[in-house]
């Protein structure tokens, strides 16, 4: 085990995959010589050569299409979209082409590729460097959607994503690259000393489709992904209520059994995400949970989310779900 932040852990996952499988190639904007604007691919071009790790022209639609073409012909590309906010020029390729090729070709062609993309707010990035567009992809059959939250699961999940034979959209909570975020912008811890900052240097994986129980509890189930896992952890502490915290990790296909079993135990559920509420992935989960747990629910399922507005710049702390808002929602589930 080595102490790593999320950037190092992701870099390590990529390094292991490049070593293990000669068909893995990495490309995207600024990922080659410079090693990425967040430094996730730092040193990889030097180690593996410029035909395996390279800078692409600045065109997300092109990056997606090239990745698909490579994957149709035997490679396993891992392309970076520099910010999730910039994935939309690639949306046609992802939604209409990459997601559907297995199905529409009768299984003859597949696109085993991964798009890594930093998402989420908390870096004063305004509406074009802060969005969490996961639901835009969970609504597209054929894609697997993953959202890591700490160095350990970042490496393990990225490994599984690259090895997965389906296309994966892999979201990285950029606010947590260098440390967990507990909702207080003035308190900025690093990953040093955090148990999930201990990461094996060698190969391992965290399976897709499995949620992680961060904290066991009996009074309420709190479900979150990405940065919100840590903010929820803080909220649970602040609330003083014995909550079970689930880090969903994979959004599609999500680990319904773990979630349902937890709610059957607690009878209460709060779902937290940064993305806007309307048609957010919390809505899908909420509907599914009530179908399975209706007779176990002691209170309405509650969502604490970003507002149904663009993500702001100056006032971002009034936008991102805060520990206070989440704690309030948890307390409310106990009143019913």
């Amino acid at each position: 085990m080595v102490e790593m932040n999320m950037i190092k852990a992701l870099n390590s996952a990529l390094e292991v995959q490049l070593t293990k499988d000669k068909n893995v190639v990495i490309f995207g904007e600024d990922v080659g010589f410079f090693g990425g604007v967040f430094r996730v691919t730092d040193g990889l071009q030097k180690k593996f050569g410029e035909h395996r790790v390279f800078d692409s022209p600045l065109a997300e639609g092109g990056i997606a299409a090239i990745a698909m073409g490579m994957s149709l012909n035997g490679l396993r590309p891992v392309a970076e979209i520099q910010f999730a906010d910039y994935i939309f020029p690639a949306y046609d390729q992802i939604v209409n082409e990459i997601a559907k090729v297995r199905h529409r070709s009768g299984g003859e062609f597949t696109a085993p590729l991964t798009f890594r993309t930093p998402a989420g707010g908390g870096i004063k990035g305004g509406h074009h460097h802060s969005q969490s567009p996961e639901a835009q992809f969970t609504h597209t059959p054929g894609l697997k959607v993953v959202y890591c939250s700490n160095p350990y699961n970042a490496k393990g999940l990225l490994t599984s994503a690259i090895e997965c034979n389906d296309p994966v959209i892999f979201f990285e909570p950029k606010r947590c690259y260098r440390g967990p975020f507990y909702g207080d912008p003035h308190n900025v811890p690093t990953w040093a000393g955090h148990p999930d900052g201990d990461v094996p240097e060698e190969y391992y994986n965290v399976p897709l489709e499995e949620a992680r129980i961060v904290r066991e509890g009996s009074a309420c189930t709190v479900i979150a992904w990405g940065t919100m896992v840590h903010v929820s952890e803080q909220a649970i502490k602040d609330s003083g209520i014995d909550c079970e915290l689930i880090d969903l990790q994979t959004l599609v296909p999500w680990d319904r059994d773990t979630v349902v079993n937890s709610i059957k135990k607690t009878g209460r559920c709060v779902i937290v995400h940064e993305a806007p509420k309307t048609s957010g992935f919390g809505a899908e989960m909420s509907a599914s949970i009530q179908e399975r747990c209706f007779y176990h629910l002691e209170a309405p399922i509650t969502r604490v989310t970003g507002w149904d507005t663009p993500f702001p710049h100056t006032t971002e702390w009034d936008y991102i779900p805060s520990p206070a808002r989440i704690a309030e929602a948890i307390k409310k589930t106990q009143e019913e």
Binding site: F34, P57, D308
Partner: protein, 413 residues
């Protein structure tokens, strides 16, 4: 017998920048192209075919000694040139002050126009006040030409209570309708094809308006660039489309953005007159833009311009360019410094001197400091006040729908 071509051993070609850190940035001295090399075609009759040499060459007016010559010399009066110099100095001093503010935590982010000051300024000066400016993030200088108050610009960069976009955007993403300066957006290139739409609306309404837009060499890889050229070629609206080739898209050199020849030459394939211009030559930029406006206003359609320049600073306050290019590369750039080049021209013509230059710089510096202090009266980044949280919920739609209203009440601010 099957024909064969000797195969390369490389799997595919990877473009390279001319120099990497630790290497000598040697561009071979000066540009080979000189003022007078390229004639100025008649704007009333010019076709794309007439600009083949202009698309591969380089239109210059100022030579390496600051002397203006050739058919493209706009023959500007002293007042206009001194005004242009003042705007460029204003932009550089403003940028320098703002980046210092960012470094000391007084702004969250900043982007300078360093080395590219002539572009937005000369080009906007060549337009009419009713023309639309559709900028990228390195053309804020156009606002000085249109007379925007510096305090209001700084308030935006801080995101305080006087920010006209209410703290919603990152710094440098200016919006200024009064100056017909359309909102800068972070997704690069989107403005380019929108600019063609703006111009089509002007044409539809019969208004004497031209729209100008810019994007970078890197961004010219985006579909939006090609949509813009194709629609402009098809509908021939009054638009001026500039590719600012400043060599660098964050860490990615222009050589990795295209395997083709010049960016300007791409326009020829769309049958649009295309010109490559020395982007650090104020007079050449002014002249080419004036020429393009004449064509646009006459209903002759778009002009495609490659503005050949160098991004002297880092991409933004978030990166350190010495990690991917030689530190002194900008000093070796054959195009030199746009401010010093115009200054040299004015001094040689005995229209300007060192004393006046220094006095002007000092005056602007004072003005920037005074403006910064005045802006902070409306709130600074560290302690505010900021726009109220209620601004999150307004202007999402024309009126606030019930679900957004409920969320606003839930926030309780």
């Amino acid at each position: 017998m099957t024909e064969r071509v000797t195969a390369t051993t490389k799997p595919y070609t990877i473009g390279r920048p001319p120099f990497r850190p630790g290497e000598d940035a040697d561009f071979g001295g000066k540009f080979t192209q000189q003022p007078g090399d390229l004639h100025r075609p008649d704007p009333a009759t010019c076709t794309a075919q007439d600009t083949v040499a202009h698309a591969s060459g380089l239109v210059r007016v100022l030579d390496d000694n600051g002397v203006a010559s050739g058919e493209w010399n706009p023959m500007l009066d002293a007042e206009t040139m001194i005004q242009g110099l003042e705007y460029m100095m204003r932009l550089r001093i403003f940028d320098d002050r703002m980046i210092k503010m960012q470094r000391t935590g007084k702004l969250s982010f900043y982007m300078r126009s360093f080395g590219e000051e002539a572009i937005a300024i000369a080009q906007t000066m060549a337009l009419e006040t009713q023309d639309w400016i559709f900028p990228s993030y390195r053309q804020p200088g156009a606002q000085f030409v249109r007379g925007r108050d510096m305090v209001s610009m700084i308030c935006h960069c801080i995101g305080n209570t006087e920010d006209n976009v209410k703290g919603r955007q990152m710094p440098v993403h200016y919006t200024w309708k009064e100056g017909r300066f359309i909102s800068i957006s972070s997704p690069v290139g989107t403005q380019f094809s929108q600019a063609v739409g703006v111009a089509m609306a002007s044409a539809y309404k019969g208004d004497d308006e031209v729209c100008i837009s810019w994007l970078g060499d890197g961004t010219s890889a985006q579909g939006d660039y090609h949509y813009a050229l194709n629609f402009a070629s098809t509908f021939k609206p009054p638009v001026i489309l500039n590719v600012v080739n400043n060599q660098w898209a964050i860490s990615t050199h222009a050589n990795l953005a295209t395997g083709g020849r010049t960016f300007a030459e791409r326009g020829l394939a769309y049958d649009i007159p295309s010109i490559r211009v020395d982007g650090n030559d104020f007079l050449a930029l002014y002249s080419v833009t004036k020429w393009a406006r004449l064509r646009a206003a006459a209903g002759l359609g778009a002009t495609h311009i490659e503005v050949y320049t160098y991004r002297a600073g880092a991409h933004s306050s978030s990166d350190d360019s010495s990690a991917y290019r030689p530190k002194d590369e900008f000093k070796q750039w054959p195009g030199g410094d746009p401010i010093l080049r115009l200054k040299e021209h004015l001094v040689k013509a005995e229209l300007w001197d060192e004393e006046r230059h220094a006095a002007l710089a000092e005056k602007i510096d004072d003005e920037v400091m005074t403006s910064y202090k005045a802006a902070c009266e409306f709130g600074d980044l560290a302690s505010g006040p900021y726009p109220p949280a209620s601004t999150i919920f307004t202007e999402v739609y024309e009126t606030v729908p019930w679900h957004v209203q409920e969320q606003r009440e839930e926030l309780g601010k």
